[in-house]
Structures are given as C-alpha cells and as structure tokens.
C-alpha cells in the first residue's frame, strides 16, 4: 500500500499545535477573544463591565443563543428557517391572546402556544421534505403568514396590536416563572450589600441591587447549548443531523431517516423561538405585533460567525453560541464604546465577513474540501 504510506507522510506536516487549534469552534473562540480584548481596551470604564453592564450584554447574547442553537442544528441538517422572527412575534401574541384576552390560566396558554408553534415548525419541515422545495422559500412564506396572523388576530379581537397585562395574568402561575423569573436573588442581594454591585439609590427599591438575579432566559440559553451540543456530538441522532445536511442522498442510502431528522429539526427551531418569545413576554409583560423582526437573520448570522456551513453538514453548537455571544457583545458594546449607533450595521457586516473568511479557511484545513 504505497499510496497509504505516502498519504501518511503528507499529512504529518500538520503540527500537533495546529491540529489541536484547528476545530470548528476556532473562529468563534478567536472572535470572542478579539471582541473582548477590543472592548476591554476601548470601553472598560464605560459601565460595560460593571454588574449591570455585564448583565445587559449577557442577556442580549443569551437571547441570540436561544435562537442560534435551533438555527444551528437546523442549518447543519441542511435547511434554513426564515420564519424564526415571525414565530417569536406569533408565539408571544398567542400567549397574550390565550392568557389575557381569553383569560385562560397562564400555564395552559404557554403549553398550547408551544404546541401550536411546534406544529407550525413541523408543517414547515413536512412541506420542505415532501415538496423538495428549498426551505428558504417555504419558510419565507411562513414568515409572512405568521406575521400576518400576529397583526390580524389581536386587531380583530382587541382592536390593537399590543396586548399588555401578561405579567399580571401570570401572577401565581406555576409555569410562567420557568420563563420569566430570576434566580439567585439572595446572592445578588448579598453582593449588593457587600458593595460589589451597585444598588438603587432612590425610589421604592432603594437598597436593592441593580442586578437582582440571573434571568431564566440565561438558564434556558445554557441548557439549550448543553442539550444541542450533546445531541449533535454524542448521539446517534447527532450523526444523522450531520449526515442529512452533508449529503441527503448518501445518508438515505445508508439508512438514515433524513426526512424525519429534518422535520424534527424544524420543530426544534420552532421550540427555541417559542422559548425566546415566552421569556420575552414574561419579562416585559406585553406582546406586540412587531416583536422579533429580523431575528431570523440575527440567528443565522450568529450561526455563521460560529463556523457553520450555510449549505449544511458542518458546524458546532458551541461555535454558534460563541457567535451569538460575539453578536450580542458587539451590538451592546458599540453603544458603550460611544460609536455612532447607525454604524452598528457596518461593524456587523465587517465582522460577518471576517468570520466567514476565517471559518472557510479553517474548514478547508479540517475537511480537505477545495
């Protein structure tokens, strides 16, 4: 086997260091370090790194993480979901309709909303695998359909497009705190008393810390990353996700139930969007018809910064989470650094471009694609 030994020789010139460095998350890791270095240099004393500032960009990043995990797994399985943003608006509105307008108990409003949204996700997936149409088009249609309902239903029922009073309706409910509450309040109160984090100086919350706990939003983000990462790398199903996106025909030939995998991933994406929406309405207490605009692109951008391949079959949940962190930190950090806010998109574009170039380079080394 002369060829084999020769291949071996050619491969050996990749050094051990380089081998350990070259992994799908590398782009995300490099980007995260670069972004934090940058803001530590330019915005250190701007409030970005006090407790309140940290909580601010952490929450924003956690929001991106929640939808990025779903988008990441779906993208690896070879499909897109452009209806994520509309789904967020729709889910929030459904909770408001059931929980406030129809006055159902909040837990049932949340559960029925999850059921409806996941069913829409399944429908997206079913149409994509049945018709063979690009998911881009199918979910673009869903984007409009859901957004339309999100405006039409409350206008018909309530004559307005923002429905408030969700916080009040959720009071005493057992399920709502899973999405809307904060935990470790005692610890933060203690930190506030110790003077580690600032406290309110006036009003009826005087003496309470300005950051009074970890929002469940962040817990959800961490859980979803852990779940997504383990599912993708450590289970049989994860292998099927890679296979479905890498080459659906080859996967089918090897007995992978590609259609089932894709439909399930659409459902998971819808689940993530609904988690996002539920956390949002529980925190802010109202659902609006314009919630979640363009969030689908933000999710896709985070995933791509995190090193996933737009055409499927390659990517990492950890990478996507880092991409979301970069996105969130940059979005909020630019404000802290005092950069003109209209230039945010310029930075976003530049980061996206650099991330994609870097990730393409890394991926070529790993996979030998040309």
């Amino acid at each position: 086997m002369s060829d084999a030994t020769q291949t071996d020789e050619r491969i050996k010139d990749i050094s051990r260091l380089r081998k350990t460095l070259i992994r799908p998350e590398l782009g995300g890791i490099v980007g995260t370090i670069a972004v934090f270095t940058f803001f530590l240099l330019f915005a250190f004393d701007s409030g970005m790194f006090n407790a309140q500032g940290v909580m601010n960009w952490t929450v924003v990043s956690a929001q991106f993480v929640i939808i990025a995990v779903g988008a990441c797994l779906l993208m690896i399985s070879g499909e897109f979901d452009l209806s994520v943003g509309s789904m967020i608006g729709f889910a929030g509105m459904m909770i408001a309709i059931f929980g406030v307008t129809l006055d159902w108990p909040m837990w049932s409003a949340i559960l029925i909303t999850f059921a409806i949204c996941i069913a829409f996700g399944a429908l997206n997936g079913y149409i994509v695998v049945r018709t063979g149409l690009p998911s881009f088009i199918v979910t673009l249609a869903t984007l409009f359909i859901l957004r339309g309902f999100t405006i039409f239903i409350p206008q018909t029922l309530e004559r307005k497009t923002i429905i408030g009073g969700i916080r009040e309706a959720a009071e005493g409910d057992w399920l709502a705190p899973v999405f809307g509450s904060k935990i470790f309040g005692g610890l933060f109160q203690w930190l506030g008393d110790m003077g580690v984090i600032g406290t309110f100086t006036r009003g009826n919350r005087t003496g309470e810390p300005v950051v009074d706990g970890i929002p469940m939003l962040i817990i959800w983000a961490l859980l979803l990353v852990a779940f997504g990462h383990i599912l993708l790398t450590r289970t049989r199903f994860g292998n099927w996700i890679f296979a479905s996106g890498g080459d659906a025909d080859a996967a089918r030939n090897s007995g992978v139930p590609v259609n089932k995998v894709k439909i399930l991933m659409f459902m998971f994406t819808a689940f993530c969007a609904t988690v996002f929406a539920t956390c949002q309405v529980m925190e802010f207490g109202s659902a609006g018809a314009d919630r979640g605009l363009l969030k689908e692109f933000e999710a896709i951008i985070a995933v791509v910064i995190g090193g996933a391949l737009l055409t499927g079959g390659y990517g990492s949940v950890i990478g996507a989470a880092l991409g979301a962190l970069i996105f969130g930190v940059v979005q909020q950090g630019l404000f802290f650094a005092g950069v003109e806010s209209s230039l945010f998109r310029v930075f976003l574009g530049v980061i996206l471009l650099f991330a994609v170039i870097l990730n393409t380079y890394i991926r070529r080394i790993i996979t030998g694609e040309r």
């Binding site: 490099v30 670069a34 940058f38 330019f42 701007s46 409030g47 970005m48 006090n50 309140q52 500032g53 909580m55 601010n56 929450v59 924003v60 405006i151 206008q155 307005k160 497009t161 923002i162 408030g164 009073g165 969700i166 600032g198 309110f200 100086t201 006036r202 009003g203 009826n204 919350r205 005087t206 300005v210 949002q280 925190e283 802010f284 207490g285 109202s286 609006g288 018809a289 314009d290 919630r291 979640g292 605009l293 363009l294 909020q332 404000f335 802290f336 650094a337 005092g338 950069v339 003109e340 806010s341 209209s342 230039l343 945010f344 998109r345 530049v350 650099f354 170039i357 870097l358 380079y361």
Partner: protein, 316 residues
C-alpha cells in the same frame, strides 16, 4: 492564518479608533442619551438628531442618539437598560409601550439617573415611571382638535393611514380624530406598513373600494408622502380633504400646492432640544420647569409656510 488574523485586528483597530475619535472628543461636560423607538428607516427622527446635536453644541454637553434598528420595542428596552448601565447624567426616551419600557425606565430612575420622556407617553404614565417631565404632543388631544377642525369643514368619514400599527400611542391620533368628528373609528384605520410603494397601493385600493370617503388622515411623512402620490395619481388631489400629522419636505410642498389642507406640527425639534436644555440646567443649577411641556399641536396651513419651508426635514 496568523497573518490574516493580524490584518483583521489591525484593520478593525484602525477603523474603530477613527470612529471613536469623532464622538469621544466632543465634550467634557454632562452626558445624555436619547433612546427612540423608531427603526432606522424612519426619516422623521432626523429632526430629533439635529435637535440634540444643536442643543449639545449650545449647552456644551454630549448627547448620544440610540434606537432599535428594526423598531422592536423589546430591543429598545435592552437599549435603555444598557444606557443606564453606562451611567449617563440623564436619559431622554419615549414611552411607546408602557408595559415593555416602564420597568427599564423605572430602574434607571431608581439608580439616580434623571429621565425625561419625550414624544410618546401620557402624563399619568410619565408620573408613574418617575420621570422628571414629558415633552411632546398629547396625541389624543391633538387628534381630537384636528377632528373638530375637520368636522367644522364638513367632513363625515375618513381613512387613517397608520404606518406604525404597533405603536399604540400613535394610534390614539386616529381615535382622537374619530371622536372629534363624532364618528366610530371602526375599520377606517388601515395598516399601511413602512414601504412607500405598499403604502401608496393600499391607499389607492382603499379609496377605490370606498369612494365615499371624505378625508384622509396620515400619521407622519412615512405614510403622507406616498399618500400624496396616490391621490395625485388618482386625480383627486385638492378634491379630497387631506390632513396629516408631522411635517416634512413633501408635506410642505403638498400644503403649498393645495393637496394637503393642513399639517399638525408637533415640533419634534422642541422634543429633542428642550429635554437636553432642561436636563443640563437641572444638573447645573437645579432648576426645573413645573409642568409637562406641550411641543404641539400647531396647525400649519398654506398661509404660514415661510420658516417651515426653509427648515422642513431639518429642524421642522
């Protein structure tokens, strides 16, 4: 790879230092942040930007403008939280949705940051969040006044072209107008979206389907400009009674050529300029006006267009 990274780092640093230089070196004095609810595409807020820039220059303070790029109010809440974290001397913000924004605003107030509500909000809500004052146009009252005026001109039915259907405060204008006319709003408010071509087509479609409509009420330049085009194209410009909220270059031209009967000026310049002046003087000398400031409504008709025309879209 290392060379690529180096280049990236270098380019990014150079670019940002250049940008930082322009804003950071501006003023040593007080720092204020204005947070709006408007998406990037809303041109009306340009007057606000000019207003805070002028006030910042005159008072020698630093004023930053921030907004949620897509107009998502949940994103706006995050921006207010973030503005509070950066510990400015004061925050000027709108209260477009009380449920979403009251929490972050109250938290900022409780941290010792002075807040003035501008543009959107009611006096009760402003008191409730603990803001110093409200500078703006009471929307329902403005709409009601306009409705009374239209009723005097013999109007019985209208269509309200709403380009920010999600903003409940702006919708109050339509409600006030309907109440001023003494008719039921019903389905006379249409959701036009933000895209000029769509707005134009929807207005045309509505007027074609409901030819007996007496009047058009648009809620700002975003909906007024395409509506002007629509009525001109349909050949009913000057025929149909046309009132609008807010001013802009096209609206001023419309008033001049008779397409538009009147524009209600809420004088956004004052909504941006006055809070900066009030906050600065409050911080420096502890003086504060005793009540909310109504920046509008002021009816602008063909007879009083001189200054308006000169500064339309800039300060008017």
């Amino acid at each position: 790879m290392t060379s690529i990274l180096k280049n990236i780092a270098l380019a990014a640093t150079v670019a940002t230092t250049a940008l930082l230089g322009t804003t950071a070196a501006q003023a040593e004095g007080e720092k204020y942040i204005l947070v709006s609810h408007a998406p990037d595409s809303d041109s009306w807020w340009n007057t606000i930007k000019n207003g805070i820039a002028l006030a910042g220059e005159q008072m020698d303070v630093e004023v930053e403008y921030r907004n949620p790029p897509t107009g998502d109010l949940a994103d706006m809440a995050r921006i207010i939280e973030q503005a509070a974290a950066s510990q400015p001397d004061g925050i000027i913000t709108t209260l477009a949705d009380f449920d979403v924004l009251s929490g972050p605003i109250r938290a900022a107030v409780d941290q010792g940051i002075n807040v003035i509500i501008m543009n959107s909000g009611t006096p009760e809500q402003v008191r409730e969040v603990g803001a110093l004052m409200f500078v703006g146009q009471p929307e329902y009252d403005a709409g009601y006044a306009a409705g009374l005026r239209a009723k005097g001109d013999g109007i019985g039915s209208f269509v309200c072209v709403n380009h920010v259907i999600s903003n409940t405060v702006v919708a109050e204008r339509c409600r006030g107008f309907a109440d001023g006319l003494g008719v039921d709003l019903g389905s006379q408010m249409i959701d036009s979206g933000q895209d000029p071509a769509e707005i134009k087509n929807r207005v045309t479609a509505y007027l074609t389907a409901n030819p007996e409509t007496d009047a058009i009420l648009t809620l700002g330049p975003t909906s007024a400009d395409p509506t002007i085009a629509a009525v001109k194209e349909m050949g009913i410009a000057g025929d149909i009674y046309f009132g609008t909220f807010d001013l802009g270059t096209e609206i001023v031209n419309g008033i001049k050529d008779g397409t538009i009967n009147w524009g209600i000026d809420q004088q956004p310049f004052l909504q941006a300029y006055l809070p900066v002046v009030v906050l600065t003087n409050y911080d420096r000398y502890g003086v504060l006006p005793g009540n909310n400031i109504n920046s509008g409504p002021g009816f602008v008709t063909k007879d009083a267009l001189g200054k308006v025309e000169e500064f339309a879209g800039q300060y008017r």
